[in-house]
Amino acid sequence: MRSSFFSRKCFAGLIAGVVLTISAMQAMAESTYVTKGSKAASLTSCVAETDDIRRNHMDYMKHGRDDSVRDGDRSGKFSLSECIGCHSATSASGEYAPVDSDGQFCQRCHAYVAVSLACFQCHRTTPEKRD
């Protein structure tokens, strides 16, 4: 009797665990990392599958940088200035927030994973307003 009670309890725990995990995964899948007030927030997906970009954006940008700087081939699908153009949030006053400032798109994840952002020592952090 005791053993069957124990296994039933165990099973219930397992079910609860699975349900919790699934709901957590759903929450993660639904959660959005785009910054409110950015152009990206109004779009359904990034230039590629969002999961793909999350995992591989650094590789895509590295290939793109060598092609464009060294070979002058700027036809690549991925470009850092497009990332910034889309992901930079605008405040109510219409000013762009730099993507590497606290709580903004790039910095938020990079601070979490403790990866320093070297891009913006040279690259512009807001979309360019050219007259």
């Binding site: 940088r65 060598d66 092609d67 464009s68 700087v69 060294r70 070979d71 002058g72 081939d73 700027r74 036809s75 200035s81 020592q121 040279c122 690259h123 512009r124 952090t125 807001t126 979309p127 360019e128």
Partner: protein, 250 residues
């Protein structure tokens, strides 16, 4: 595919591939050319060694007291200074040369000469300083460690070092602290298919038209025509660097 190398194609693989393709075309269908194997199509993307970008500066037309090209370059690439002329970035500068005997003064602009054999590329320990297939000499800031060997090697004093942290750079000219930089021949314009540089536009707008930019490899381009019909000079021609920037009436 555009040509990425300025050497003649002696690629073994191409030769063997071509030989097999020819043999295949002959055996499979004599007299019929297989289009897929031709492989000569040129994509429009990227720098190609079929071009060599260069510039001609007519020193007679370069007007005294004018700095329109310098200002245009600064605006185009957002070269903001710190009011420290000794160290502020300078991609193009005006120079006066006075012949002590006759008193004749030559005015001209000096910038990266985009050498065919650039000393800055020779000395760079990280391959950051490089020459594109189309002859434009650039610094890849991703690998520049700021050692400044290239600045010492350049006979034209064409390069600047960024000493201080920068903000609000131009999207088309990313630049930052700790890297060396110089004239890019407006590479962002070239890659976008434009045929003028910022300095050339400004000079033309001022009514001087002292600067002509174009493809040295194209015999019909304006720059080739100007060079063909005028006596031009390379500065420090004795170094045999085959500069891409030439001067008239110097």
């Amino acid at each position: 595919m555009s040509k990425k190398c300025d050497q003649p194609s002696m690629n073994r693989r191409h030769f063997i591939g071509g030989a097999i393709a020819t043999a295949g075309a002959v055996t499979v269908a004599p007299g019929v050319m297989l289009h897929a194997l031709a492989g000569n199509e040129q994509a429009n993307t990227g720098a190609s060694s079929e071009k060599r970008w260069g510039m001609v500066v007519d020193t007679n037309k370069c007007a005294d007291g004018c700095s329109a090209c310098v200002n245009a370059c600064n605006d185009e690439h957002n070269l903001t200074g710190f009011d420290r002329p000794e160290t502020d970035a300078q991609w193009i500068r005006t120079v006066k040369l006075k012949d002590k005997q006759s008193g004749h003064i030559n005015r001209m602009v000096m910038m990266c000469q985009h050498c065919e054999f650039p000393p800055c590329v020779d000395v760079c320990p990280t391959n950051a300083s490089f020459k594109r297939a189309d002859g434009i000499v650039l610094v890849d800031r991703h690998s520049c460690i700021g050692c400044r060997y290239c600045m010492m090697a350049c006979p034209y004093k064409a390069r600047s070092f960024v000493h201080e942290a920068l903000q609000d750079q131009s999207v088309s000219a990313p630049r930052g602290k700790g890297c060396v930089e110089s004239c890019t021949l407006c590479v962002h314009r070239v890659d976008a298919g434009q045929t003028t540089t910022a300095c050339q536009d400004a000079c033309q707008k001022e009514g001087h038209s002292a600067i002509v930019f174009g493809d040295l490899n194209d015999p019909n381009s304006e720059i080739s025509q100007v060079l063909k019909s005028n006596n031009s000079t390379q500065i420090r021609a004795d170094l045999e660097l085959n500069t891409g920037v030439r001067y008239l009436n110097l």
